[in-house]
Amino acid sequence: MYVLDALPQTHSYSFEALELDCGRTFSPVTIAYETYGRLNAAKDNAILLLHALSGSAHAGFVNDKGEHGWWEDFIGPGRALDTDRYFVICSNVLGGCGGSTGPASVDPATGRPYGLSFPVITVGDMVRAQKHLVDSLGIRALLAVVGGSIGGMQALQWAVDYPEAVRSALILAAANRLSAQGIAFNEVGRQAIMADSCWQNGDYYGGIPPRTGLALARMIGHITYLSEESMHEKFGRALKGVNGYHYRFSEDFEVESYLHYKGSRFVERFDANSYLYITKAMDYFDLPDLASIKSKMLVISFSSDWLFPPAQLKLLVRTLRRKRKDVTYCDVQSSRGHDAFLLDVAPLTELISGFLENVAGQL
């Protein structure tokens, strides 16, 4: 049994002046992060883990509030990100609401939350902020950057922007651009939030947040994270009660109840404006020029993922291999859709641990 020296804690690092893609210089910036394992003396065993839309810095283990890490099964001794060997860093994205500077943070100039005066950020901005954090830890080159979904976009951005600082990049369920379908779903989610009268043009802090809109956005998003097959397996047409149909517009089916539950849980922990900003960053993400990449890459798609379908990841891999990049591709057979990158522990652990072992072995 492995005992942590201490429960994982969220730290924060603050710095002045971040150049943004929109042209503005933003200040000050705080990045919340957690670390697992130990940084070795050579500082060459660090892995930066990048979370997806709804994630946070709390990726591994159970913290003092009893909260499970979003990638808990992949982090720890003997796991995919083996904390006996590697030093794992996970930070909350810029624009997020898990301790890093975002629209809910207080603007020191006004003493009030930024709301929509927070600048529109990009994945490039998120990564630039993470680079400040990594530099502050004295790490010149990361052993790996790892992420799924928008986390995978960040991993790719790292490999493009900082080729000398990234030995390897693991990109799960993400491509070098978001598809029209992805943008469309994001826009419907944003419209759901903005149509909520509580949203108040983003200035709802101190009042009632747009819970209905955010819950609806989450429900829509959640459908895209599952697959037709997994929904059928999980719910089928199962009814919630034992008495048949209600003949009312209340919850009849298990799947409805599940989505409502997901939506209501989400509003407890997530800021609606962060949802707008992060999905917008996803929409803007488009990296046609991959020439600068020097990292060894592992790209993983999931057969039933329809948000980032295997064909789209294959296209990324084909572009990379045509440029003679060192890229390995695997399409993991899974019925769990986009969410498989959080759930398919066994095949992913095999691929990731095998890949990292070789990258670490080449040092």
């Binding site: 060894k296 592992l298 294959k314 891999v317 084909r318 572009t319 291999r321 045509r322 003679r324 060192d326 890229v327 390995t328 591709y329 695997c330 399409d331 993991v332 057979q333 095949p347 095999e350 691929l351 095998g354 890949f355 072992e357 070789n358 072995g361 080449q362």
Partner: protein, 201 residues
């Protein structure tokens, strides 16, 4: 272990420092041998995801996909050698695969079980049933082999398409590595061809 010597022969045909693409690389045994020999850029394509995981653990660069999808994204002459070792008989579109191999590679190495081998001929002649031998052990309804051919067939295939055969090695047995110089179509279990598009390299 049955494939050991055919792999050794293929490795011996590929000079150090070559860029190599192995189609249907399996668990990467051939790629590892090539890596040990010292090749500059080696890659594999494999359809079985379990094999991909094994290759990743070995540190190999592999693409999970179907050879029949083509190699369309590769530029002409991207590799010095493209290898198709004992896989020709399972591909759906052998002509396309060979053409693509010769386009993206300066040379292609193609090996396949030789259906002209005398024991196979005898099996069909005597038993009147689809031949089952040690190197082709599966029943007709249970085999992935859909494009079985003979050394003579492949020679004709090359001649009609103006593909130049640089070398032909007839392998008496993969297990012993013994080669055949005469009556190759009759006495070889495996044919190994080194071919080029016939253009000036």
């Amino acid at each position: 272990m049955i494939r050991r010597f055919d792999q050794d022969i293929i490795v011996s045909l590929i000079p150090e420092g070559s860029r190599v693409l192995d189609l249907g690389c399996g668990s990467g045994d051939l790629l590892i041998k090539l890596k040990q020999k010292g090749t500059s850029d080696i890659r594999g394509v494999e359809i079985d995801d379990r094999c991909i995981a094994v290759c990743v653990r070995k540190g190999l660069t592999v693409f999970h996909g179907d050879i029949d999808e083509g190699l369309g994204d590769y530029d002409d002459a991207s590799f010095d050698y493209v290898v198709l070792n004992q896989t020709l008989q399972v591909v759906h579109r052998p002509t396309l695969v060979i053409e693509e191999m010769l386009r993206v590679g300066n040379r292609a190495i193609v090996s396949f079980p030789n259906f002209g081998y005398f024991r196979i001929r005898g099996y069909l002649l005597v038993k009147g049933q689809m031949p089952k031998v040690d190197f082709l052990p599966r029943d007709w309804y249970d085999t992935p082999n859909i494009h079985l051919s003979t050394i003579a067939d492949f020679k004709e295939f090359c001649r009609t398409r103006k593909i130049a055969i640089e070398r032909l090695i007839g392998l008496r047995s993969c297990a012993t590595g013994k080669t055949v110089k005469r009556f190759q179509n009759l006495l070889s279990q495996v044919g190994i061809f080194v071919i080029t598009a016939g253009r000036e390299p």
